[in-house]
Symmetry: C2
């Protein structure tokens, strides 16, 4: 990595010569190489121009992946990986302007019938200018009191409609069942029927009492998504009530609002990615989670939703694992962050998740996989602990379940292969 350049890698699809296509991208996002403008000197281009660092051709396709492009007729469409680099001084240390540079006006360029931002790399010295995660994996583990296995959690359901007292009552049941982590649904933040302040008061009274009795403070991620200054107030409400986590809908709040919160916060930020489908659903448009996660890691989120294996949504398992791996990797001097597995998760996915990730540094969030256990919530939690013990020990779940009824019943109930 050059000490003073930002790298961004894209998958493109074009019928134009690849060198030409990449040069259009570089020009559009820096000094406009291909349209002569008064004042655009060679010296200016040399200092500020984006460079094409590499082009790797991939496969060829017959039909354009996205409509609207203008391509030379009669040529086949080629896909390729293109890496550009930009001088850090083109933007200076500003997160939204970093995003504009690597993920701005280039997705609509007419020579392309596909373009997706795959990844970014930054010099450590540049990344140090951004807040970054304050807790990451190690800080979260310390607060949650869980050291050698995944942090096991669930989501309060129904998503909307429960009063603060009803939420607290459910939190009591979940805490007593032995869960490490509980989170609000992304659809409840600060509505009239459950004002955040009131919900925090009711829930934290229960969880603090539970901690006094057991020594374990269950981590509850209160959804504080709101305008920037309101998030700071909500954060303080949670902190003053003795809470240990806040949750933010990253896309809805926005990159710079997360950074604003992080500069003020003293609690881990649980990053929910609702809306992600808009950015990622088409494989030749938008961006990969690697790039997204890095931008929001720089902003300071500590936990990142990554979906889960055999999930209820459209995402393939390979993509889920790629997302989780990128969370666990170091990035420009920032600490690794917690991938959060959820959606249709139960005991049955633990071995494959561990096999793919070779790590227990994750949050494992189950709804039905805990609440739907036929022997109750505590048995649901027990089945998850046992499933992860088996996964780490390399023992098949069925074998491990022989002497363990909670796991055995979970496998009967939730098996998803």
């Amino acid at each position: 990595m050059s000490a003073d350049r930002i790298h961004s890698t894209y998958r493109i699809e074009t019928a134009h010569p690849l060198e030409e296509a990449a040069a259009v991208m570089a020009g559009e996002q820096s000094s406009g190489t291909f349209i002569a403008v008064p004042g655009e000197t060679d010296a200016l281009r040399e200092r500020f121009g984006a460079r094409i660092e590499s082009i790797h051709e991939e496969d060829r396709v017959d039909a354009p992946s996205l409509p609207g492009s203008r391509q030379p007729a009669g040529r086949s469409l080629r896909r390729a990986l293109v890496t550009l680099s930009f001088p850090v001084d083109n933007i200076g240390p500003s997160l939204p302007n970093l995003m504009t540079m690597v993920a701005g006006n280039l997705f609509e360029l007419s020579p392309f019938s596909g373009m997706r931002l795959l990844d970014i790399e930054l010099p450590d010295s540049f990344a140090r200018e951004f807040p970054g995660p304050a807790f990451g994996i190690s800080g979260t583990r310390k607060l949650a009191g869980v050291s050698d296995r995944p942090i096991l959690g669930t989501i309060v359901k129904p998503s909307v409609g429960l009063s603060p007292d009803e939420t607290a009552s459910l939190a009591r049941t979940l805490a007593e069942a032995g869960l490490d982590f509980i989170k609000d649904d992304e659809l409840i933040a600060n509505p009239p029927y459950s004002p955040l302040k009131e919900r925090v008061r009711c829930v934290m009274r229960i969880l603090r009492d539970h901690a006094d009795r057991t020594g374990k403070l269950v981590m509850y991620a209160f959804n504080i998504t709101d305008e920037p200054d309101a998030m700071l107030r909500h954060h303080d409400t949670v902190r003053e009530a003795g809470g240990s986590c806040v949750m933010v809908s990253m896309i809805s709040a926005g990159l710079s609002a997360v950074a604003h919160l992080r500069r003020h916060a003293s609690l881990p930020i649980h990053g929910h990615r609702n809306g992600w489908g808009m950015l990622a659903r088409h494989p030749l448009a938008g961006m990969e989670y690697a790039a997204f996660q890095k931008l929001f890691r720089l902003a300071g989120a500590d936990h990142f939703h990554v979906n889960g294996l055999r999930n209820k949504f459209c995402e393939e398992d390979a993509s889920v694992i790629r997302s989780a791996q990128t969370c666990l990797q170091p990035f420009a001097g920032t600490p690794p962050v917690m991938p959060v597995f959820s959606s249709g998760q139960s005991a049955s996915q633990a071995p494959d998740t561990y096999a793919a990730l070779q790590s227990v540094d994750l949050m494992y969030i189950c709804g039905g996989g805990i609440l739907g256990h036929p022997d109750g919530v505590a048995a649901g939690v027990q089945s998850l602990r046992e499933a992860w013990e088996a996964a780490v020990a390399g023992v098949p779940l069925e074998t491990y379940a022989r002497e363990r009824p909670a796991l055995a019943r979970a496998l009967q109930t939730f098996q998803r292969t």
Copy 2:
């Protein structure tokens, strides 16, 4: 419009029965109708559940538009418009949470091989809780001193690399040529080579001098995109130097950061949409500009980039016009906002733009269409004024150009049909 419900309309593609598919969307985004959960009572569903307001079947297609869905085999895929409604009290008056409700986790639902948010409608009483545009069309016209024609403008180029003095020198040329409006490129905000404070000082000295001589203060949209509180400081820098506009990269900064700025601002907010291709490039994914524009109008942006007719990007003219029309329409009691036409614009697109829009309430931004005029920048500006006069009068450009050399030369140089 019901006084207490939010409406959102989607285009979907699915092989499932349409009623069932719409019910999955409604359930996912509210009380989770289709997965029984303890505590989910009929009363809760009645009060908080999303309703299906309408379903209109459109065409059928053979192949799924997006990969990853789980669809019943052997059935054709149907496209349909689906309108849902949600109680305003599910979220309360919070802009990012409104976004999570109408554009959150539903785009990845597995029964769908296509889903795009097309539009939203809100009760006026609910919209009044958000900042909304402070200037809109009428306030912008007053500040720019342009009443009966489009506001004519250009972008400082090269996009990156000019020093504050070089920018100011270019601004002098553009102001003397008679332009109403100048904007920074989205790639320059507050970089080390042109700190915003210094650029504002240099440019505003020139523009204020010009105003003292001519009575006309050219509106310059300084790009203040940054973290939330930094944007407030940058705004004040512009205001204190006598500037009359600030620009924000809406997607990079984020919805809530724009609202944060608006609550503090006393200058119009010029909304740049770089990154829009990520949200919109595939016609069955992401969102339409109508919905995007309404969310950011509620946040308080006054001007909205909409691309332009016969533009250099992938967007069709019909889509550009739809975007502009939605800016000009009233929305939930908020004032109409300025559509900003740009990208490959010159005198030649004026008649078609006017014919489609039946309005001169727009900003018309030309780069090459002004700077590339063979008789100089002033002739470029003159050609645009003449083209718009002809458009409004219903006189063909060629006819109008007979006695008007600036327009005639522009048509020879820039004709794009």
